[in-house]
């Protein structure tokens, strides 16, 4: 049978939306033979906006909205970079509060991811259940910061809100809740046969590929690369705690580097986060939370500062890097570069999807916890690499072929 290579759109604008990214999958027969990614739907030019605002303080909120999910990590990373560049270092208490916030975010984000992944494979009960459990951390975040999602807690040289004694109690309560529920979540995700069926040995990313394609975060760790900024390049309170990167072999001694391993890594990280938060609350140093309380003064200081700095934070999805360059009198940055984790985790889709099945695309893509939606521009790549826009007729023909294949397969399985 003559097989054309053709591209299929995957799940345009479905409920599990993250950052929209265009994903083109070239399929030959049953197999995926090519993957291409685009990301123009969501480009808002944040870096450019940041370089043209009035002051770095405004940019904190811009960084926060690089992503609504990693909305502590990006500002965290950015203020780190600005602090490096300007030399306004935060007090210790602020370091700890930042770590608590970042870990709360990790819990919420990993649970969110787990739910979405369950939804991708049509397991809505687990989705609902996980998100119901997630509400606890959302409440906690709201209590500590004043909003469920955007935390608006970071400030150059510290944090904006302190944690009171009452707050400490609430955090501990919340962590206790998760410790209790953890067994159940673990049981659901790691022991359910249907989840295992859909995720075991699916979307394998070998260690070599993870290195070559610069994968970061749980994705890299699930492939056996023990890479975690909190461990390798500790910042703030993590330097005191000593985080250990989690790889799937800590759970069951083997690394398959598949979707299931990514579930393991994320679930274990939730537990780790709970530990870190408990430790940080217990060891919260006293003192101020801001290096420079007076915002007007801070603004002036930043205006006069000159230098460059790199911020690195382990976001729930992996390493986040910001580069900031300040110049005297220049509003506000001379240069700002954001490198969100998904930026690096998109290319690994290619080896993960290659050779896979079409039905695996949603869960494999989701396993990197990425940003996908509106995959609606379909381009065809034929054997010679020529490209042309797909027509409906062509699509029809392909779907006809697809039926045949399916039927043949059904037939084969007699």
């Amino acid at each position: 049978m003559s097989e054309h290579t053709y591209s299929i759109p995957v799940g345009p604008l479905h409920p599990a939306i993250h950052e929209p990214i265009t994903l083109k999958i070239d399929v030959e027969g049953e197999e995926i033979v090519g993957v291409d990614v685009f990301c123009s739907q969501v480009h808002r030019g944040i870096e450019w906006l940041g370089m043209n605002r009035n002051n770095p303080i405004q940019n904190i909120y811009l960084a926060e909205r690089v992503c609504g999910i990693c909305n502590v990590c990006h500002p965290f990373c950015m203020v780190q970079a600005v602090e490096d560049a300007s030399g306004i270092y935060p007090p210790e208490r602020a370091d700890y509060i930042r770590a608590i916030m970042a870990e709360l975010e990790r819990i919420h984000s990993h649970l969110l991811w787990a739910g979405v992944a369950a939804h991708e494979i049509g397991f809505d009960t687990v989705f609902h259940y996980t998100w119901a459990l997630r509400e606890k951390v959302m409440d906690l975040i709201e209590y500590l910061t004043g909003n469920r999602v955007t935390k608006a807690i970071m400030m150059v040289g510290g944090v904006r809100r302190d944690i009171s004694e009452e707050g400490k109690k609430k955090i501990k309560e919340g962590m206790q809740y998760y410790l209790e529920k953890f067994a159940k979540i673990e049981d659901i995700y790691l022991n359910d046969p249907t989840i295992k069926m859909r995720t075991r040995d699916i979307g394998v990313l070998t260690r070599e590929d993870a290195l070559r394609l610069c994968a970061v975060g749980p994705l890299a760790r699930a492939s056996g690369v023990p890479k975690d900024v909190r461990q390798d390049f500790p910042y703030g309170a993590y330097a005191d705690y000593g985080v250990k990167a989690i790889t799937p072999d800590t759970y069951n001694g083997e690394i398959h580097a598949d979707v299931f391993d990514r579930i393991i890594v994320r679930l274990l990280e939730v537990k780790q986060s709970v530990d870190i938060i408990k430790w940080a609350v217990d060891n919260l140093p006293s003192g101020p939370i801001l290096a420079e309380k007076n915002l007007v003064k801070l603004k002036m200081l930043l205006k006069k500062a000159e230098g460059e700095g790199i911020g690195r934070v382990e976001a729930p999805r992996g390493e986040d890097i910001h580069y900031v360059r300040l110049e005297k009198g220049k509003d506000p940055y001379l240069s700002w570069k954001i490198r969100a984790p998904t930026y690096n985790n998109v290319l690994p889709w290619i080896p993960m999807l290659l050779g896979g099945q079409i039905a695996d695309v949603p869960i494999v893509a989701a396993s990197t916890d990425p940003c996908m939606s509106c995959l609606n521009r379909v381009t065809v790549v034929d054997e010679k690499g020529r490209k042309y826009e797909i027509t409906k007729e062509y699509m029809h023909e392909l779907s006809v072929k697809k039926t045949r294949r399916l039927m043949r397969n059904a037939n084969r399985s007699f």
């Binding site: 480009h43 070559r212 490198r339």
Partner: protein, 188 residues
């Protein structure tokens, strides 16, 4: 491995070692920035290196000697007026407790000759970043196979680079979203 004094000592040597190896090979400026953090004031090390464009590939070779697979993070670009500064961010020695260093490699390109070799042959993961820099500031990467837009829409006008601070910036495409509704402003 835990964070005892010894290890910090060893790490320090390692940093010097790296710096020396770079200095041996290249005539360049190496800045080491150490930032203390946390209650224990543990230091993080950033190494900044500025080299000439001609030395770029050789430097990459050195990097691969220092670590079998340096992690590439991103390229940032700064428009300095006459020159375009590219900053390649790498990290080495990852995977171990508190042992990682960043190496940022600075290269200045004259505006009238914005060209540099690609590193996608060594590190395929750099593809997105090179494509981004290509579309945002117009640097040409010699040997980069895929030069399509990644972040910008397909119908983006030729020769317009949103991250430049010169006449190639698409001023006419700016959109003040908050202003669009002032016309109907009842209170005005």
């Amino acid at each position: 491995m835990d964070e005892t004094g010894e290890i910090k000592e060893g790490e320090k040597m390692k940093v010097d070692d790296v710096v020396n190896r770079i200095k041996e090979r290249f005539e360049c400026e190496v800045k080491v920035k150490e930032i203390p953090c946390g209650a224990k004031k543990i230091k993080r090390t950033h190494i900044f290196v500025e080299i000439k464009r001609e030395d770029f590939r050789k430097f990459m070779e050195l990097l691969f000697e220092i670590q079998d697979y340096p992690h590439f993070a991103v390229i940032s670009a700064t428009d300095l007026g006459e020159q375009m500064e590219l900053l390649y961010h790498f990290t080495i020695d990852y995977g171990k407790q508190n042992d990682e260093k960043t190496i940022s490699l600075r290269i200045k390109l004259p505006k009238n000759d914005l060209r540099i070799e690609t590193i996608t042959d060594l590190i395929p993961g750099a593809m997105i970043s090179e494509r981004e820099i290509h579309e945002m500031v117009g640097v040409e990467f010699i040997g980069l196979k895929d030069t399509r837009h990644f972040f910008l829409p397909d119908n983006w006008p030729e020769g317009k680079y949103p991250w430049r601070r010169d006449e190639t910036f698409p001023n006419d495409m700016l959109n003040k979203l908050d202003e669009t509704w002032k016309e109907g402003d009842k209170n005005e």
